[in-house]
């Protein structure tokens, strides 16, 4: 993996807009623009922000009973996912850990799946090997743009009125400037918004059209991270990985009733047992009392000085106005209100376990 970082179809626009480019999962991506992470974060919470998420893997699944076949490798119900609906899910491994998290949409004549950038090389072969009779095609000729924030409906609806009719977790083909795009009402910021899959040669033109709206500004990976953290959303590689089970990660809500009861997915023995009996550790929200951010890797102790866990994501939450974090703590310490200490640069800093999310999610239900 010593290849030069890849560039998305929006690369030239990022550079033109003053994006500070960094290598992220093998992709040259903007971490921020001149507005800065804090400003971009607030822009998304208050108006609208445009993110390039083209580094994520877009995959088309074609064949008979794709939804049902996906259930062999995911603990979700996809067989009854209606056309035009999207659902959050994950691939589990035989030990009940999470291989990756993803969004699955029923696009009518195919299923449309979006996976994490860093795991494209794992997920595509995994689906090809596991989904018999399904044609698995990685889409390389489309960009993916997220427009997020309370003004997102205005920004996207202004160019594509049909987008206004979508509700949270719905998807449709819409015409933007004469270009057929897949528009899905979802995102990873905790705000209302859309992710739009666009033919790559039209991506910069459509991004410019969105940015021409007075409420819409570009935002980079830095703001994307603080937004999803405040919204209590897991980042693969930080908060969830091959060793963490969905129950530990508080993702049980994403395992539908039938699958909980019937099992029949990789790692179902562990996951069903944990659903019934609880887990040894749990992912929780952590709110440091002081101003010092607690970042990934910081040790969590109980007030007696025993290690009870570790921070998996942490930083400053601009909307909260202070540091916010997520981490795993051992059973018995996961209740909101539990007082803990965070060991930051050798010093114990007081903090409290809190309910997630840190900010109210503003989805259009």
């Amino acid at each position: 993996m010593t290849d030069a970082p890849k560039r998305t179809p929006l690369f030239d626009l990022h550079v033109e807009l003053g994006g500070k480019m960094v290598d992220f999962a093998g992709w040259e991506m903007p971490v921020q623009y001149p507005m800065g992470i804090m400003g971009e974060h607030n822009q998304c919470r208050e108006k609208a922000a445009l993110f390039d998420v083209s580094h994520m893997g877009q995959v088309m699944l074609k064949g008979e009973n794709v939804g049902e076949k996906l259930e062999a490798i995911c603990p979700q119900v996809f067989s009854s996912l209606k056309e035009g609906k999207a659902r959050y899910g994950f691939f589990t491994n035989d030990a009940g850990g999470i291989m990756d998290d993803l969004i699955v949409s029923n696009a009518g004549d195919h299923f449309f799946v979006v996976v994490n950038a860093a795991l494209r090389h794992q997920d595509i072969p995994h689906m090809k090997a596991s989904l018999e009779g399904v044609e698995v095609t990685e889409i390389f000729d489309r960009a993916l743009i997220a427009v997020q924030g309370p003004s997102a409906e205005d920004v996207v609806g202004g160019l594509c009125p049909a987008a206004r009719d979508l509700k949270f977790m719905e998807t449709a083909i819409g015409d933007i400037d004469g270009v057929a795009c897949r528009i899905s009402r979802l995102g990873y910021t905790g705000e209302d918004g859309f992710e739009i899959s666009i033919p790559k040669d039209k991506a910069i033109g459509i991004a410019r059209a969105f940015l021409a709206h007075e409420d819409c500004e570009p935002a980079g990976l830095g703001a994307r991270d603080s937004l999803r953290l405040e919204a209590g959303l897991c980042l693969y590689g930080n908060d969830i990985d091959q060793t963490t089970s969905p129950v530990e990660a508080n993702l049980s809500w994403a395992i539908q009733k039938r699958r909980r009861e019937e099992g029949g997915f990789p790692g179902s023995a562990r996951i069903q047992k944990e659903l019934a009996e609880g887990t040894m550790r749990k992912l929780v929200g952590i709110r440091p009392e002081g101003r010092a951010p607690a970042r990934q890797g910081v040790e969590i102790q109980n007030l007696g000085g025993d290690t009870i866990g570790q921070i998996t994501s942490g930083g400053f939450g601009p909307t909260v106005g202070g540091p916010v974090a997520m981490g795993y703590v051992s059973a018995g310490h996961d209740r909101p209100g539990e007082k803990v200490n965070l060991i930051i640069r050798g010093k114990a800093q007081p903090a409290e376990v809190v309910a997630l999310p840190f900010v109210t999610q503003n989805y259009k239900r």
Binding site: V31, Q32, G36, I37, M38, H41, G222, S226, R291, A292, P293, R295, G315, F316, P318, P323, R345
Partner: protein, 121 residues
């Protein structure tokens, strides 16, 4: 009164044997939005190259390294309540320490403004 600059992007302005120390505008711009500053206390002594504080931005934590030997004689307490001042005025109101120099000859090893400008390109 003269101002010197370090390769770690600190400035130090000397009046007699007392000096004011902070980070440069260039450093502040690179850090991005500052959200927390960890400072030493008055009376703490340090040697050149020692870590004498940490600046946390939205992006990451960055250490402050002492450009000279000395002792903290005053801490800018404003930064605890308003760390963002380090973005607005890092070479003015948002100084970090006043220090007593242990060895003024160490200043010779630092850069002047022209040297620093050339250093950051």
């Amino acid at each position: 009164m003269a101002t010197y600059y370090s390769e770690e992007h600190e400035w130090i302005t000397v009046e007699g044997d007392i000096a004011t120390l902070g980070i440069t505008q260039h450093a502040a711009d690179q850090l991005g939005d500052v959200v927390f500053v960890e400072q030493k206390e008055t009376g703490d002594e340090f040697g050149k190259g020692d870590e004498i504080g940490v600046i946390e931005s939205v992006k990451a934590a960055s250490e402050i390294y002492a450009p000279v030997d000395g002792e903290v004689v005053e801490v800018n307490e404003e930064l605890a309540d308003n760390p963002g001042a380090l973005n607005d005025s890092p070479e003015g109101d948002a100084w970090i320490y006043k220090i007593k120099l242990a060895d003024a000859s160490q200043l010779e090893e630092l850069m002047d403004l022209d040297g620093y400008k050339a250093f950051i390109g």
